[in-house]
Symmetry: C2
Subunit: 204 residues, 2 copies
């Protein structure tokens, strides 16, 4: 495989996809976009970053909140789009601009779909079994009122619905990506090593 | 990741999954089961190998043929099962016995599901874009009355229906496997190299 310019990493919540993305960016010495991407989108859209972070990968349904924001948020700019659809259009623009700018790692935000036509972009999907993910989210993000299983189910469902709505594809279907890796079976380090070698176009 | 004892390779028709499986078996010096598996199943079931080959991964619907075979095939042994269900039960037994016997590569036959509870078994899925697969099947298996696209669609559909029926899972869903690789993007050699390293438990 030839050397790749950029990589998108889609991931199940708690699978370590973000950590892997960070390690790949470090190894290759290229920018890493995750929270940073949220800032870009917030800046472009005029919404608060906390709002973008919460709604950017979630279900596209119009809530009372989205109507409230739609009428107050950015008058005259949203052209009758729902808040979610408006954010999606901004998100597409930001991600395509980042891809033009230069090599990078982009985690989440349906970037695999947005950049699907770029041959210089590798698309990876990271997932893991539920026990592994439950242990990781409690260790990394702490306990909450809800059980770890409920938190996983909720996030999984939201990402699935959002992905389906904006891409027409099925979340987690292998054919959406160039490579899919189970981090609970292969280990986070091995996942990173495989992706770094592929990005460099080196022999495995 | 630890060293693995065996590997199942599920694959889209024309993706090169069989070739990759063969190369992995050669590199590791372990048996390769594909057509050979058909012979085993035929031997156990009393059906002709051509019949097993054609029906083993195909849709489970009861055709006139399957009723005809069911009444004539192996009297008193099939216990009222349809031919397809009878073959499936034989297939499960043969694959579980092979796994007990020693290290091996098993291509197809829903072996990923049958051996899903063995921690010493790596499960890989190989797929590729349709243009790549169409070119390969014409080159390797020759032209036929049907267009390459029609041949791909037919095989894809049959494997999908068979897999769904016997496993309750969705064909091609990344979470069914430990690793999924697009051979048209990564190249057959790279896919082989990744799987060999993982099987050996070597650092990538």
């Amino acid at each position: 495989m030839e050397k790749m310019k950029m990589i998108t990493i889609s991931r199940e919540f708690g699978s370590g996809g973000r950590t892997i993305g960070h390690q790949v960016a470090e190894a290759l010495g290229i920018p890493f976009y995750d929270k940073e991407l949220v800032e870009h989108i917030a800046l472009e859209s005029g919404f608060a970053s906390k709002f973008v972070e919460e709604h950017g990968e979630h279900s596209p349904g119009k809530s009372i909140f989205s109507y409230a924001f739609a009428s107050q948020g950015v008058p005259g700019v949203m052209n009758g789009l729902s808040t979610a659809d408006f954010l999606w259009s901004i998100q597409c623009n930001v991600i395509m601009q980042l891809a033009e700018k230069g090599p990078c790692v982009i985690v989440g935000r349906n970037a695999d779909y947005i950049l699907k036509d770029r041959p210089d972009c590798l698309h990876a999907f990271i997932y893991a079994n539920k026990d592994y993910r439950a242990e990781r989210i409690v260790r990394l993000y702490g306990e909450s009122e809800k059980s770890p299983q409920a938190r996983l189910n909720e996030k999984d469902k939201r990402r699935k619905v959002n992905y389906q709505h904006y891409t027409g594809r099925t979340w987690g279907q292998a054919q959406n990506y160039d490579i899919s890796l189970d981090s609970s079976r292969l280990g986070i380090e091995t996942c990173t090593d495989i992706l770094v070698k592929l990005m460099r176009g080196e022999k495995i």
